[in-house]
């Protein structure tokens, strides 16, 4: 049965009012509390026809709108998932697929930015393999390896390495990672690099807005033109309102940060929420920190994430998606980079509008679970 048949309409009917009246008639015959099965059928048909009507109104007259036998949201979702699926498997075949593969649910402004057309794909494939180009200093420091791993490694090795990394106290090397990664972001953006750049941007926003903006631009430009999100992000006002109250940074910095955070969407993209959280820590704003924590309640857990063996869980074949290794590692890296950036920031405090108090010290305190705003009490 076509949706039109279900509602007893003429085939191809697209007048919203007519559709709704037909729905009401059928609804009375199949009340949701009395005939759930019948109601579901009617409702699916109605929802399909509603969007069909909208589509007809918005798009040009001839465009086809398809449905299969089992129309309705479910079928459409499944269809689009299937396309996605094929694409994902193609991607899986690719050698340079890395732990930073990323797609997100929910917020459409943060859509999967992977290219859909083969040409674009080629472009990316042509991008220099990260492996060869990473700045590898001569030192024995584990840190460059971590960068390397960020693009190529397996999750477990990676977690182990990053764990080591955060224990390392080599601020110079950390600073080097930060700038190395940033350089890479400007160069070619390897797969996943746009998110790295974005995170760097969020890290920089409260410290150096111009720099953050430049990095955001890099991310933006790396996207295929038709996939670029609208920069007037939804939600910016809300976020700004809170930040306005809570952050004693200058207007530009606040704005940049709000903008970047808003882009992620609070529910849609925990990574950015966590980035913001970390920044709130840097800004020594306990209240903002609390506020953000609601959105990423288990931050400490993420940070202390330990790799777990998978048990009897089904695996999703229907969707190409983020490797969570990438996600966790990003959190880790944010942490690492935070330390790096603040270490750099300390060299020229005047430029960054931070006071003499060493951010690094504060972060250390945070890492040890202490309140960074409390002066150290002698025992």
């Amino acid at each position: 049965m076509t949706p039109w048949e279900v509602l007893g309409l003429e085939d191809g009917e697209s007048d919203r009012a007519v559709i709704r009246s037909a729905y009401v008639v059928k609804l009375r015959a199949h009340r949701p509390d009395e005939d759930p099965e019948g109601f579901r059928r009617v409702r699916d048909a109605y929802e399909f026809l509603k969007s069909y009507a909208d589509h007809r109104r918005d798009e040009d007259e001839d465009s086809e709108y398809e449905y299969d036998d089992e129309y309705g949201d479910g079928a459409r979702d499944a269809a689009s998932k299937h396309e996605h699926d094929v694409e994902f498997h193609e991607l899986l075949e690719r050698d340079d697929l890395t732990a930073s593969e990323h797609a997100s649910h929910g917020d459409p402004s943060f859509r999967d930015t992977r290219p859909r057309e083969p040409e674009v794909d080629k472009n990316l494939a042509a991008a220099p393999a990260p492996r060869d180009e990473l700045p590898l200093p001569e030192s024995e420091s584990p840190i460059p390896n971590a960068i390397h791993q960020y693009f190529t490694g397996s999750n477990e090795e990676l977690s182990a390495l990053v764990w080591k990394l955060t224990e390392a106290d080599d601020t110079e090397a950390l600073a080097e990672i930060a700038s190395g990664l940033e350089r890479r972001a400007h160069e070619g953006l390897p797969r996943g690099g746009e998110f790295l750049a974005l995170e760097l941007a969020t890290i920089w926003a409260p410290i150096d807005f111009e720099r953050a903006l430049a990095l955001s631009e890099v991310v933006y430009n790396s996207m295929p033109p038709d996939e670029r999100p609208d920069w007037k992000f939804a939600g910016i006002d809300e976020v700004k309102a809170v930040l306005d109250e809570r952050l004693y940074l200058d207007e530009n910095a606040r704005h940049g940060m709000a903008r970047i955070i808003a882009r992620g969407g609070w529910e849609g993209e925990p990574t950015l929420t966590v980035s913001a959280l970390l920044k709130a820590k840097v800004a020594r704003d306990g209240a903002l920190h609390e506020w953000l924590k609601r959105h990423a309640p288990d931050l400490e857990d993420y940070i202390r994430f330990k790799s777990k063996k998978s048990r009897h869980k089904p695996i999703d074949t229907a969707e190409g998606s983020i490797g969570c290794g990438g996600w966790f590692v990003r959190i880790w890296l944010i942490w690492v980079l935070m330390r790096a950036c603040t270490a750099m920031g300390n060299e020229s405090n005047e430029n960054y509008g931070v006071d003499d108090n060493s951010h690094y010290e504060r972060l250390e305190k945070l890492r040890r679970g202490l309140d960074p705003t409390e002066p150290e009490r002698p025992k």
């Binding site: 709704r20 009246s21 009401v24 609804l27 009375r28 009340r31 949701p32 509390d33 759930p36 109601f39 579901r40 409702r43 929802e47 949201d73 479910g74 979702d77 499944a78 998932k81 697929l97 890395t98 732990a99 593969e101 997100s104 649910h105 929910g106 397996s154 999750n155 477990e156 939804a234 939600g235 006002d237 809300e238 309102a241 809170v242 109250e245 609070w266 529910e267 925990p270 209240a287 506020w291 309640p297 288990d298 777990k308 998978s310 048990r311 009897h312 869980k313 089904p314 695996i315 999703d316 074949t317 229907a318 969707e319 998606s321 983020i322 490797g323 969570c324 290794g325 990438g326």
Partner: protein, 596 residues
């Protein structure tokens, strides 16, 4: 006074002056086996029924329709419920608690002296009281109720509410979302209207927003969003914090409780006045706005998300119905008028409309002709999904991901499916873990249940090796049915996820009922007398000098009269006590929401 008869709820328990005047037999009118509508609020609860085709709220013996959602143990161990409990909490905060709705669905245990209660049991005590009130009016045992819950309650919290009802001896005919109930009451009153509405429900402890369409007697909810830990009480707490900080020094628990009460009343006064001064505490609207600014900042994103989910633009909204006592704050007005820009509609009684809607739903379930034409379709505001692992790269697999199956804000009943597969060729078994929530990681979502399927190991020449379809069907009562269909063999597995964490076994219900059982009912335990004593106790804490002595005399005489169980003596002592206490309480009575 006659000896009390704790046996039948329909008997007249009380002599004048509280008397049986309110105990009319509404049951005749309503037909037998009445289903009542209950709004179990964070701050206030009430019960309502449909009478002469319209909903009415039922009052207790004190003539009050709103029962404060508070429980407390009196010195003699009796469980106080409602106003007496709330009054007692002001001078002895450790004897019980209020706002337990916020802890529904958690493992919290309250300890009051030697006694322990769970949030579910506290709620059960309130529900039992409401049941009692309804029975006085109906003259028959009430067995079924429609109970409202915040739209944003997740399944565990809903289940906890159902358990509370079971303990109270009520069967839940339907759980209805609070804003939906409000809309239903509105739609019932304006049956022929065609409109697109937003319901903005800011109660004592929860915030819900719902966008819906009303047309041709159909009430169609498009989307709901909310925060189940944001309400008027949080504003009071913030004010308290600010004022305590300003004052410096420290207050003991009961001092704090008294100050909080003063602030609460002052806050309510701000609905009418620019600033209010009360017992040495003076606050202005600006103070309230500034103390609660983080709270206010949380409101708008929720509204926007709801509009987005409803695919509705603010400009399409004809009205915004204000529900919940906390919408009386002027800052809500400002937010809606200036920031969100939506026309405000205050035509519904913000304290009662949810219960009215529940009563209408109850009538609909019992096929009452008066509401037969009304059809309601609602949504489930949380996403339902399953746990999956994801393969990433060649050898790395991570579990703990949430795969949405039924997206939030789709109309229920609904059924949706996804196709999943085993992780590797030799895997024979998978566990389907069912979760509800919005996070991409299951550990941040709410676990609802699990089951296992077998026989998935790959075999030669299979078309869909290891693949299976997982179908979720969600019905209007929040019952989720999970069906797994193994593609290769065509084998089907079915499970109804009804019993969720938090559901009580019959034995547990039984035990809880016993725990809540009051001791023998003596005259002093009857609600009006209890209320009188607690109120006098509270006043005692506030008065000083001769006034306090005066109160002591009268109160002692009253208690002695109760002890004697002599009706005439109690009557006299009552009027002597009331004569003194009532005028002193006028000020507070004013601030109680009025019946419309």
């Amino acid at each position: 006074m006659a000896h009390p008869t704790p046996a039948g709820p329909c008997e007249d328990w009380y002599d004048e002056p509280w008397g049986a005047a309110t105990a009319q037999a509404d049951a005749k009118d309503a037909g037998s086996a009445m289903i009542v509508g209950i709004d179990l609020g964070t701050t206030n609860s009430l019960v309502s029924i449909l009478r002469d085709g319209g909903p009415v709220a039922l009052a207790n013996e004190l003539g009050e329709e709103l029962t404060p959602s508070a429980v407390a143990f009196a010195e003699d161990g009796l469980l106080l419920v409602g106003r007496p409990a709330r009054d007692r909490l002001v001078h002895d905060p450790k004897s019980g608690c209020a706002f337990f709705k916020r802890d529904m669905g958690t493992e919290r245990r309250y300890v009051f002296g030697k006694r322990k209660l769970t949030p579910v049991e506290c709620s059960a005590a309130i529900l039992r009281e409401l049941k009692r009130i309804a029975e006085i009016h109906l003259g028959e045992t009430v067995r079924q109720a429609v109970i409202s819950v915040p739209a944003y309650f997740h399944d565990t919290q809903r289940q906890a509410t159902v358990s509370a009802a079971n303990i109270a001896g009520l069967e839940v005919a339907r759980v209805i979302n609070e804003p939906t109930a409000a809309a239903l009451a509105y739609g019932h009153r304006h049956p022929d209207q065609e409109t697109q509405l937003m319901v903005f429900d800011l109660g004592g402890g929860t915030f819900d927003v719902t966008v819906l369409n009303v047309f041709e007697n159909v009430i169609e909810v498009l989307a709901s969003a909310g925060d189940s830990a944001l309400g008027g009480e949080d504003y009071t707490d913030e004010l308290l914090k600010v004022i305590l900080e300003k004052r410096g020094g420290s207050l003991d628990a009961s001092g704090k409780a008294r100050l909080r009460q003063t602030i609460e009343l002052a806050k309510r006064g701000l609905a009418e006045h620019e600033s209010v001064e009360r017992d040495g505490v003076s606050i202005s609207r600006a103070d309230l706005a500034s103390a609660g600014r983080h709270l206010t900042a949380r409101l708008r994103p929720i509204v926007m998300r709801c509009l987005r989910d409803a695919k509705t633009d603010v400009s399409e909204l004809v009205d915004c119905l204000l529900v919940g006592g906390a919408t009386r704050m002027s800052l809500v007005d400002t937010l809606l008028r200036e920031t969100i820009v939506v026309p405000i509609n205050r035509s519904v009684d913000p304290d009662r409309v949810v219960a009215y809607g529940a009563a209408i739903q109850a009538a609909a379930i019992s096929k009452n002709e008066a509401v037969r034409d009304l059809i309601l379709t609602d949504v489930c505001p949380h996403t339902l999904g399953t746990e999956i692992s994801k393969q990433f790269g060649k050898d790395s697999i991570q579990d703990g991901f949430f795969e949405p199956i039924i997206d939030r804000n789709v109309t229920v009943p609904v059924s949706r499916a996804v196709t999943l597969s085993t992780m590797h060729a030799r895997q024979d078994k998978v566990t389907i873990n069912v979760f509800q929530g919005e996070s991409r990681f299951v550990k941040e979502n709410t676990f609802l249940g699990a089951f296992e399927i077998k026989g998935l190991r790959h075999r030669p020449s299979q078309k869909h090796p290891g693949e299976f379809e997982v179908r979720y069907s969600y019905d209007m009562n929040g019952i989720l049915e999970v069906e797994v269909n193994v593609l290769e063999s065509g084998k089907k597995y079915k499970k109804v996820i009804e019993s969720r964490p938090g559901e009580l076994t019959p034995a547990e219900v039984e035990a809880a009922v016993r725990r809540l059982q009051p001791l023998k009912i003596l005259p002093r335990d009857l609600l009006p007398n209890r209320a009188r004593i607690e109120r006098a106790n509270r006043l005692f804490a506030e008065l000083a000098g001769t006034q306090r002595q005066e109160l002591t005399h009268r109160l002692d005489a009253f208690e002695a009269a109760l002890e004697s169980q002599d009706g005439e003596r109690i009557r006299i002592a009552t009027s002597i006590l009331d004569e003194f206490v009532e005028p002193l309480f006028d000020a507070e009575a004013e601030s109680r929401p009025e019946t419309k």
